[in-house]
C-alpha cells in the first residue's frame, strides 16, 4: 500500500486510462497548458499531446455537448469542469441530452462519458464559487453520480466511471485534494452504487459522502475514544444509484441515523435518505433521523460568516450527542 494524495490518485488514474484506451480523451478548460486549475491533469498534455488532452474555450455548454457528441460516436471523454459552479452553464447538455439520449432514442446510443468537477466551500470564494450541487444531478434518471472521500475510492471509482457506458458525474471536493490515504497496489475498481461501512459501530449511524464522510470518520474515532460511544460510519461513495441496502441495514442495527452533508439541507441528499429510512426501517428506529447540513444562505466571503454558514465536525458532534442512546451520554 502506498500513501498518496487524492490529487495524485486522480492524476495517476487519468494517466492509466489514457494509456489503456485510445478512445479515452480529456477535455476541459485549462487542463493542458495550465495543467489544470487544481493541477489534477499535471503533466498529461506533455505526455499525451493535444489530441488526447484538449484545452477548450470558456464555453461549458459547448464543450460538454461536444464531449457528449463524441461519446455518441464511441469515444470515451473525461470532461473536467473547473468547479461545479460552472456546470450550471452546461445543464442543458447534461440533463436534456447526455442523460436522455440512450432512453429517448430507444437504446441505440450509449453515452460513455465522465464529468469530473470539484465542489465545496470554505475557501473564501463567496457565493458563486462554493456550491454543492450534487442533488441536481442525483435527481435525474439517466445519470450516475459518485462522490468518493478517499484516494483509494477516487481511483477505484474513476476507473469504474470511465468503464461505464453511461454519463457519470464524478464529484470531487476542493478540500479533499491534499488529503492523503493508502491506496492498494495494482489494478482494482470500486463498483458504482456500492456504499462502504468505513467504520463499524453499534450506537448510531452517520451516513455521509465526499469530504464530509472523511470528517465523519475522524469524528467517529474521536468520540469513541473520548466517550466510548460506538459510531458507525457509512460512506455512500455513490449518490445515484444509491445503495439503500447498506444504509437500511446499518440503521436497523444501530436504531439511529444521522445524515451529514456539506450541501444545503432542504430537498437534499439527507432528505432523500431520511425518507427512505422511514419507509424501509421505521420499526427499527429508536429516534428521529437527523440531518446535519450547511446553513441555507448563499455562502458569504467574510471568514466569520463563512464559518458560521458551513457545517462541520462541531455540528456533527452536537448531533451525535443529542441523538445518542441515553446510557452512553456524557
Amino acid at each position: 500500500m502506498a500513501e498518496i494524495t487524492f490529487r495524485q490518485a486522480l492524476n495517476e488514474t487519468l494517466r492509466e486510462e489514457l494509456t489503456r484506451d485510445e478512445n479515452v480523451f480529456l477535455i476541459g478548460e485549462e487542463i493542458g497548458n495550465f495543467e489544470g486549475s487544481y493541477k489534477i491533469t499535471a503533466g498529461l498534455l506533455k505526455d499525451f499531446g493535444p489530441r488526447r488532452v484538449v484545452d477548450t474555450p470558456i464555453a461549458e455548454n459547448g464543450f460538454v455537448g461536444l464531449a457528449t457528441g463524441a461519446a455518441m460516436l464511441g469515444l470515451r471523454p473525461i470532461v473536467e469542469i473547473m468547479t461545479i459552479n460552472f456546470i450550471i452553464m452546461a445543464m442543458d447538455e447534461i440533463v436534456n441530452h447526455a442523460a436522455k439520449i440512450y432512453y429517448m432514442f430507444g437504446g441505440q446510443c450509449p453515452i460513455p462519458m465522465v464529468i469530473r468537477t470539484p465542489g465545496g466551500g470554505g475557501q473564501q470564494l463567496s457565493a458563486t464559487h462554493s456550491q454543492n450541487l450534487e442533488v441536481w444531478f442525483s435527481h435525474v434518471p439517466g445519470l450516475k453520480v459518485v462522490a468518493p472521500s478517499t484516494p483509494e475510492d477516487a481511483k477505484g471509482l474513476l476507473r469504474s466511471s470511465v468503464l461505464d457506458n453511461n454519463p457519470v458525474i464524478f464529484l470531487e471536493n476542493l478540500a479533499l485534494y491534499n488529503v492523503r490515504g493508502e491506496v492498494p497496489e495494482g489494478y482494482y475498481t470500486t463498483p458504482i452504487g456500492q456504499a462502504k461501512v468505513s467504520k463499524e459501530g453499534t450506537d448510531v449511524t452517520v451516513i455521509s459522502y465526499s469530504r464530509m464522510a472523511s470528517v465523519a470518520l475522524d469524528v467517529a474515532h474521536r468520540i469513541e475514544q473520548e466517550t466510548g460511544l460506538s459510531v458507525e460510519v457509512v460512506d455512500l461513495r455513490s449518490l445515484r444509484p444509491l445503495d439503500t441496502e447498506t444504509i437500511i441495514n446499518s440503521v436497523k442495527k444501530t436504531g439511529r441515523g444521522i445524515i451529514f452533508e456539506e450541501d444545503w439541507r432542504t430537498y437534499g441528499i439527507g432528505a432523500e435518505i431520511a425518507a427512505t429510512l422511514q419507509e424501509e426501517a421505521f420499526d427499527y428506529l429508536d429516534a428521529p433521523i437527523k440531518r446535519v447540513a450547511s446553513v441555507e444562505v448563499p455562502l458569504p466571503y467574510s471568514k466569520p460568516l463563512e464559518l458560521a454558514a458551513l457545517t462541520g465536525a462541531r455540528q456533527l458532534i452536537e448531533a451525535i450527542n443529542e441523538l445518542a442512546p441515553r446510557r452512553r451520554r456524557r
Binding site: 464555453a59 459547448g62 432514442f105
Partner: protein
Amino acid sequence: MNKKQSQASDANKNEQRASGSSTALLENEDRDTLVRYYHQMLFIRHFEEKSAEMYNKARIGGYCHLNLGEEATVVGFCAGLEPKDYVYANYREHGYAVGRGIPPEAVMAELFGKETGCAHGRGGSMHMFDVNHHFMGGYGIVGGQIPLATGAAFALAYRGAHEIVACQMGDGTTNGGPFHESLNMAKIYRLPIIYFVVNNQYGMGLAADKGSAVGELYRKGCAYDMNSVRVDGNDVLAVRDAMRAAARLAREDRQPTLIEAVSYRFRGHSVVDPDRYRDREEVERGRSHDPIAMFAQRLQDAGLLDDAALADIEEQTQQELAAAVKFAEESSYPPVEGLFDFVYAPNDASAGER
C-alpha cells in the same frame, strides 16, 4: 510567409457569399437523379400532410412540426451528403429522417408511438433516430443538437475518418449560445462539419429579422472566420450544390461551413398553430413559390417529365405513404413492462464505434 500573413491569407480564403438561385443547368444532370429529387420532395410533402391528418385524428400526440414548404431544402441537404455521413437535426425533422434513408414506416410508427418506430416509440415527432443510417437524432431543445453534432465531428476528426457531420437547425437557433460556442470550437479544432440553417423566416411567431440583429444569418459565420453561404432554399439543386461544396471542404480540408437556406414555412409553427400572426398576403406570396411545383415545371420545361410521369410519381408516393400508415397502425405499442428499458446502458454490451 510569417504566421500573421498566413492567417490573413487564410481569412481571405474563407468566402462569404450570397448565391442566388441555382446555377446548375439541368442538361448537366442525370435525369433519374432529378426525378428522384422530385419524388422525394413530393413524398415528404404528402408525408407531412398525412402527419397533420393523423395528428388531428389523435393518432399522433405531443408536438408535431412539419417540413411543408421546406421540401427542396430538405432534399437538397440530404442529396449533398454521402450515405455514411452523420446528420443531426432539430425537431422539424420528419423529412430529413426519411430523406436520409430511414424507412417511412419506421418514421410514421414513431409518430404513432409504436415499438416499431425508429426510436422504439420513446421519442416521438421531435426525436427521430436511427444509428444504422447515421441519423443521430432530432432534438427538441432549440440549439441542443449543435454542440452534439460538433462533438460527433470531433470524434470523426479524432479517428481521421472519411465521414463528416451535417447539423440542421432553424433561424432562431442562431441567436443562442450553443450556436456560437459550437461554431467557434469547430473552427479552432478544424472539424469536418456543415452547420445548416433553415431560415424559414419565423421562429415560432417571431420574424427572423426581429429576433436577429443580422438579418442575413450566414453573415454570422464571419465572427468565426468561417466559410459561409446563403442559398435559395426553394431550389433543390442550389441547396445540394452548396452542401456538396461544403462537404468537400469538410472532408478534404477539415474546414467547417455555415449554410443558410432561405425557405418559407407554409403553415404555422406546429400542427396546432393557427398562424394568426402572419399577414395573409405574405403567406400567399410565400406559398406561391412552391418548391415542388417550381421544380416540376422546370423538369417539364426541360422535357424530362411529362404529365403521365408526374401522375405516376404521385400514385407511387400515395402507395408508399399508405403502406407507411398501415404499418404504423398495425404495429404494437411498446409493452408497459419495457418502461425501464434504456434508462441506463448495460456495461456488458460493447459501446463501440458508431
